[in-house]
C-alpha cells in the first residue's frame, strides 16, 4: 500500500507561460515515492528566480510528513529566490499537516565547530588522545590510591576482610583455570624442548636441554604465559562483572547501604588473584618441565632419572623463586586494571565491550612491560 507503483509516484510538471511558471504536482507524496521529485525540485530551484509561480497541488493523492517537509523545504528556497508563489488546489488535510509541521520545522542550522582542514583534524585528534591518556593515567593512580586506603583500613580492622569472597574468587580464578594453564604450559614445554633438542643435538650437547628447560620455564615462560592467560580469562571477567553491576546500579545501591565497593568487590578480587597466580605459576612450572622431560626422553633418549638428577644440580632454586615472585606483581596489575576499567563503564551497554577489551589489552601490555623491567633489573643486580 505504501509501496509506490510507477503509476502513482510523486510527480511535478512545469510549464512556462508569459514569464510565469506553472507547477503541477500529482501522485503519492510519501516517504517511498519522493526520490525522483526531490531531484526535479533541486533542478527547479536553480533555474527559477524572480518569477511568479502558480503551484497546483489538487492532483496530489496523499501526503505524509516527509512529502510535506520536501514541499516546505523547496517552498522556502523558491521564496528566498524572490519568487512569488500562489498555491492552488489545497485541501484541508494539506493545510492541517502544513500548519503542524511548519510549527516544528527546526530553524536551527546544525552548527559544526570542527576545524575545516584535514591537517588541523589530525592535530586535534592527536591532542584529544594525549589528553585522554593523561586523564586515564591520573584516574588509574586515583583508583590505586583509593584502593590502598581501603587496604590499610582492612589491615587495621581485620574483621572487615571478606574471607568468603576471597576464597570464592580464588576458586574462580585459580582452581577453574587449572585445565587451561596445564594445557598451555604443557605445549610451551613441548615447544621449548623440541626447538632446543634440534639445536643441541648438532653439538652432541643433549644433556644441556635440562638446563635450558629448567631455567627458561621457571624464570620466564611459566610466569609470563600464566599471567597472559589469566589476564585474558580473569581480568576480562572482572571488568565485565563490575561493569554490569555499574550498569544495573548495583554499585550505587551498595554505596547507599554503606558497602564500600572497594572493600566488597575490589580488594577480595585483588587479594584472591595475588594468592592464586603464584600457585598457578608453580603448577605451570611443574607441567612445563614435565612436558620438556617427556620430549627429551622421546627425542634425545634422555632417561627420566638422568633428567631429574641433572635438574637438581643445574637449576638453582632462586630461578623458581624469581618466577614465583613475579606472580603477585602480575596479579596485582591484572586485577587492579580489570576492576578499574569495570568502574569506568558508563551507562551504555556498548561500553562494557569496549572497556573489557581495553582492560585485557592494558593488562597484557603491563605484564610484558613489567616482565622486561624485572629482566633488566635482576640481570643488572646479578641475580
Amino acid at each position: 500500500m505504501t509501496q509506490a507503483t510507477q503509476r502513482n509516484i510523486a510527480k511535478i510538471d512545469q510549464r512556462h507561460i508569459d514569464g510565469a511558471v506553472f507547477l503541477t504536482s500529482s501522485g503519492l507524496w510519501n516517504v517511498h515515492s519522493l526520490n525522483q521529485v526531490s531531484k526535479q525540485l533541486e533542478q527547479l530551484v536553480k533555474t527559477i528566480k524572480n518569477t511568479a509561480i502558480e503551484w497546483n497541488i489538487s492532483q496530489v493523492e496523499q501526503v505524509d510528513s516527509a512529502g510535506m517537509m520536501l514541499f516546505i523545504h523547496y517552498y522556502d528556497l523558491l521564496k528566498s529566490n524572490n519568487c512569488s508563489i500562489q498555491m492552488t488546489g489545497t485541501k484541508l488535510e494539506h493545510k492541517k499537516l502544513y500548519r503542524l509541521l511548519r510549527k516544528h520545522v527546526a530553524h536551527c542550522s546544525i552548527s559544526k565547530d570542527q576545524p575545516s582542514s584535514s591537517a588541523l583534524q589530525v592535530i586535534e585528534s592527536v591532542g584529544k588522545t594525549v589528553v585522554s591518556s593523561t586523564i586515564d593515567v591520573r584516574d588509574f593512580l586515583t583508583f590505586v590510591g583509593e584502593n590502598f586506603i581501603h587496604l590499610i583500613y582492612s589491615l587495621r580492622h581485620p574483621g572487615s576482610i571478606r574471607l568468603s569472597a576471597i576464597t570464592k574468587n580464588i576458586e574462580e580464578a585459580g582452581l577453574r583455570a587449572l585445565p587451561i594453564i596445564a594445557l598451555t604450559s604443557f605445549l610451551i614445554g613441548v615447544v621449548i624442548a623440541y626447538q632446543g633438542a634440534v639445536q643441541l643435538e648438532k653439538f652432541g650437547a643433549n644433556i644441556f636441554i635440562v638446563d635450558m628447560i629448567g631455567v627458561s620455564i621457571t624464570r620466564e615462560l611459566a610466569p609470563l604465559i600464566t599471567a597472559i592467560v589469566v589476564a585474558g580469562r580473569t581480568g576480562s571477567s572482572y571488568t565485565a562483572q563490575i561493569g554490569v553491576m555499574k550498569l544495573t546500579e548495583e554499585i550505587a545501591a551498595m554505596r547507599t547501604m554503606g558497602f564500600e565497593p572497594h572493600r566488597f568487590l575490589v580488594l577480595p578480587r585483588i587479594i584472591a588473584l595475588m594468592i592464586a597466580l603464584p600457585l598457578l605459576i608453580f603448577f605451570a612450572d611443574i607441567i612445563g618441565i614435565a612436558a620438556g622431560m617427556f620430549i627429551s626422553h622421546i627425542h634425545l633418549d634422555l632417561s627420566y632419572t638422568e633428567f631429574i638428577t641433572r635438574l637438581q644440580s643445574v637449576l638453582p632454586v632462586k630461578h623458581v623463586w624469581i618466577g614465583l615472585c613475579k606472580g603477585p606483581v602480575f596479579a596485582w596489575l591484572i586485577a587492579t586494571v580489570g576492576c578499574w576499567r569495570g568502574f569506568q563503564v558508563s551507562i551504555s551497554t556498548e561500553s562494557i565491550g569496549r572497556y573489557t577489551t581495553t582492560s585485557v589489552v592494558n593488562s597484557i601490555f603491563l605484564v610484558i612491560a613489567v616482565d622486561a623491567l624485572f629482566s633488566v633489573v635482576l640481570t643488572e643486580l646479578g641475580i
Binding site: V31, H32, S65, M69, H73, L97, H104, V105, A106, S348
Partner: protein, 254 residues
C-alpha cells in the same frame, strides 16, 4: 468504520500457565484504544502478540488486513513499515545518537536524499518537544522523559498508520505525562493515526482514550467507551474505577 486490529479467541500460555483464555477485541480506525489491566493480566503479552514478537497458542490476530498466523515474511516486512512501536523503556539503540536512532528507518527503507532525512528528523525532534540540541546526544545522556519523546519520534518517523505504545506515560511526572497525552491526541487528529496503548494511568483512560478493554482473569472483562465499561459490574472494574483514586478522578471530571 474500518477495523484495523481484530483479535479473536486468542489463547496464550507459557507452559502450564495460561495468560489469555479466549480473548477477543477490535480496534477501529482513528481511535485511541487502551489496554487496561493489573500487573500480570497479560496486556503487554497481548501487545507483543500484535507486533509479531510472540505467537498465541491459538486464535487469530488480524492487523491492517494481514492475518498474523499466516503472514509471509515479505508481508511481515510491509506490515512493519506501517506501524510504529514505542517500548516502555524507550529501547533506543544505545550506541547511536538520538538523531541516528530516529533516522535509521528512513535510511534503511527509503531513498530520500540525506538532506531531507535530516530535515524530517529535526522536525520530528521538535514535534515531540525535544530541544534540537538533543539530536547529538546518546540515549544514556537523556532523562527518562526525553528518552520517551525520542522513542516516540523514532516510532513516528515513517508516518505509521498504527502506533503501539507500551505504557507511554509511566515514569513521567504528571505534567510531562499530560503533555505527552496531549501530543498523542494532536498527532492522532492531524496524522490520522490509530493508537493502541497499554496503560494503567487512570488519567490517560479518562482524558485521551476513546475506547478500551479491561483485561483480567485471563479474559476481556469489558470493552467499550468509559461509560460502557463503567456499567459493567465486576470486581476488577470496581477496583480500578471505584477505588479511591478512581473516585477522585471521576469527581474531578474530564
Amino acid at each position: 468504520m474500518k477495523t484495523l486490529v481484530s483479535i479473536s479467541n486468542v489463547v496464550t500460555a507459557f507452559g502450564e500457565m495460561v495468560v489469555h483464555d479466549d480473548v477477543s477485541l477490535s480496534v477501529r480506525q482513528g481511535e485511541i484504544y487502551g489496554l487496561l489491566g493489573g500487573s500480570g493480566s497479560g496486556k503487554s503479552t497481548l501487545l507483543k502478540e500484535m507486533i509479531l514478537l510472540l505467537r498465541p497458542r491459538s486464535g487469530s490476530i488480524k492487523i491492517l488486513d494481514y492475518d498474523l498466523a499466516t503472514i509471509s515474511p515479505s508481508q511481515a516486512t510491509q506490515l512493519r513499515h506501517q506501524w510504529g512501536v514505542l517500548f516502555q523503556g524507550g529501547a533506543l539503540y544505545s550506541s547511536l545518537t538520538v538523531e541516528e536512532n530516529i533516522q535509521i528507518k528512513l535510511l534503511e527503507y527509503t531513498e530520500l536524499p540525506l538532506k531531507l532525512v535530516k530535515e524530517i528528523v529535526h522536525m520530528k525532534i521538535n514535534m515531540v518537544g525535544l530541544p534540537s540540541s538533543a539530536a547529538s546526544l546518546y540515549p544514556a545522556e537523556l532523562s527518562g522523559g526525553m528518552v520517551k519523546r525520542a522513542a516516540l519520534a523514532r516510532a513516528l518517523v515513517m508516518d505509521p498508520k498504527l502506533l503501539f505504545l507500551d505504557e507511554p506515560t509511566s515514569g513521567l511526572d504528571p505534567v510531562g505525562a499530560e503533555a505527552f497525552d496531549k501530543l498523542i491526541v494532536e498527532l492522532r487528529d492531524i496524522l490520522g493515526l490509530t493508537v493502541v496503548m497499554v496503560t494503567h494511568d487512570i488519567d490517560s483512560i479518562w482524558t485521551i482514550v476513546d475506547r478500551f478493554a479491561v483485561l483480567g482473569e485471563k479474559k476481556v472483562i469489558a470493552e467499550g467507551s468509559l461509560d460502557e465499561v463503567m456499567q459493567t459490574e465486576h470486581p476488577v472494574i470496581d477496583e480500578f474505577f471505584r477505588g479511591k483514586r478512581g473516585q477522585m478522578r471521576s469527581q474531578s471530571g474530564k
